[in-house]
């Protein structure tokens, strides 16, 4: 184990990283305390694709995203965003965190949350002008939440809260969207609204990466998958990588065979 660790630490040759990829991760290791949650993971996201990050609970899916965004600092490894270090390309990424990560009794309205997506544009001191409000409204419109602009966020249902988070990310006008379980605990209408927005982003040439739980929808929502259980298990087009064999490896036999059969898997 320690030898392997040493071999992986910083050993990733730089020349290998494809610079055109929206997100390229090499040799990434993150640990909470003494336990590695993500171990020596490589990932190459294809531009204009929709990738599902799949794996059991505690497999490091969210942590992988957070490390890519610099929210948690990795023990080893690096991530390049559009071929540049995170610092230089941060404005091209929009992040949609898990809904549960926030106190929804916070004194803020729906429109204020979306305006947070414009903070880079606004800077520290610039006033919020009609054109900013206009932009925020347009983002709310895209997720079907225009009528809720002036509501306090605590009055929203879980699905509506998720849509507001997505609207905030849209306001950033980024090129790469990283979403942490956007479909967790949302109603059917929200799921449809979100996937429609994500697909329209893809058709605009943007790149989408989402941590995803529901194996039954992988095939219809995404074109690529990234299977992880602390280590990377597989990565590739849905047809190649989303196979019973790979799923069994990822979930360590925790999926019943019946469950896998229902997924109409290839291979």
């Amino acid at each position: 184990m320690s030898l392997e660790l040493a071999a992986n630490m910083g050993a990733a040759p730089k020349a290998e990283i494809p610079t055109e990829s929206p997100l390229a991760i090499r040799g990434l290791t993150v640990s909470y305390g003494q336990k590695p949650v993500v171990f020596s993971v490589d990932m190459t996201v294809e531009e204009g694709s929709m990738t599902a990050i799949i794996g059991p609970n505690g497999a490091g899916k969210s942590t992988l995203l957070k490390a890519a965004l610099g929210i948690v600092s990795p023990l080893a490894g690096q991530a390049l965003v559009f071929g540049k270090p995170l610092k230089a390309a941060r404005h091209r990424i929009a992040y949609v965190p898990q809904r549960a990560s926030v106190d929804w009794d916070f004194p803020t309205r729906v429109i204020d949350v979306v305006l947070m997506g414009l903070y880079r544009e606004l800077g520290l001191l610039r006033r919020i002008r009609p054109q900013h409000m206009e932009k925020a409204r347009a983002c709310l419109e895209r997720v079907g939440m225009t009528d809720f602009a002036d509501r306090q966020i605590g009055q929203l249902s879980g699905g509506q809260q998720q849509r507001v988070f997505l609207a905030r990310a849209l306001a950033q006008e980024a090129d790469l969207y990283l979403l942490d379980e956007p479909f967790a605990g949302v109603d059917a209408a929200t799921e449809k609204a979100i996937i429609d927005v994500l697909k329209s982003l893809r058709s605009e040439g943007k790149t989408v990466v989402a941590v995803h739980h529901d194996l039954t929808t992988v095939r219809s929502y995404f074109d690529r998958v990234f299977l992880i259980n602390t280590r990377k298990v597989a990565e590739g087009a849905v047809d190649e990588a989303f196979t019973p064999d790979m799923l069994n490896q990822t979930y360590g036999g925790r999926l019943a065979t019946g469950q896998i059969d229902q997924l109409e898997l290839a291979g």
Binding site: L69, I71, I93, P97, F106, P107, M116, L124
Partner: protein, 401 residues
Amino acid sequence: MFWTALTLQLGYNATLVTIGATLLGIAAGVTGTFLYLRKRALVSDAISHATLPGVGIAFMLMVMLGGDGRALPGLLLGAAVSSWIGLLCVSWLTRFTRLSEDAAIGAVLSVFFGFGIVLLTVIQTMGAGRAAGLEGFLLGSTAGMLFNDALVIAGGGALTLLAVLILRRPMTLLAFDPEYAASRGVNVGRMDLAIMALALAVTVIGLKVVGLILIVAMLIIPPVTARFWTERTDHMVLISGLCGGLAAWVGASLSAVAPAMPTGPIIVLSSFGLFILSLLLAPNRGVLAVYLRHVRFQRRVHMRQGLLALAQGQPIYEAFTVRLLKRAGLAHADGVPTDDGRARAAKALRDEKRWELVRADQAFESAAALYDGLRDIETVLTGDQISEIDQRIGGPQGVTS
């Protein structure tokens, strides 16, 4: 007399104290809002108690250097340094040990305060340079406030407000959603320290007026008060600053009228008065409003249940329901419906049927989301939509009211 104090006509010193305290109150209310929103209100308690050793050491140093041990800028500088060390201790303990923040706060607070008290005792036994003024930092003493002291407070308060103005967006972002803030490039650790540093600045400049034991109240009570009145962060900051300033102004004026009263505690009590008023009377979040809403809701539930029971010819057992129906002219005291009641009951039953269809139909999804079992269907759907549903139900048409 109180009025003369409020209108700043009670002499030079009282006026100075009132203006200084008001500025401090505004700065504390504004800064405290971010502390509260970041859920770090208690850290300010550690910060304030950690000022005491600094005050003692600064005094000793200044005496040793042959100066006046009680020069306010020097004492405040000492206070700032030692509370900054205390603050770093708290954040170091929570970050690198398994101690939770409350435990770290408790430990730092008591150790620093204890050390400070020891220093004050030592200073008293030294007998060097009258140390009498130093206990004033515990509970505040405005009796001997000088123009320069007021200037220090005013300048410090203004600088703090300026810093809040500049940092308001990253601080709001951090308080609401730290992970998202980090994804936008906000340095979470450093921004947290900035919030604390602002609280520290307020604490230090408030030492003279309110004292280190009670300064916490000026940072916490105004934002808590403001929270009752608004659902917007920007408004909350303004209201909190207003509450803080108002409480300080009233408190300082009161204590000017009754000089035996300590300024700090009076300011805190005034602030508390505003808090109680808000707690009881604020619309939406106030206790009274919540209670009234509950009562109204309960009535709607009983009314609805009563009508449905009438419609289905079931007996009503709850006296309260019967009373409500009777008061509305829908039923007699024995629970037998009036003509009006019979019509309303039929409508209620029909609404139930309509709702059933609405909720089963994907096309009405947004309307169905509003279903609570109580609402009249015409508050959610248009007349056309209702007749469309009625057609699906069949039976007699046009029962709308």
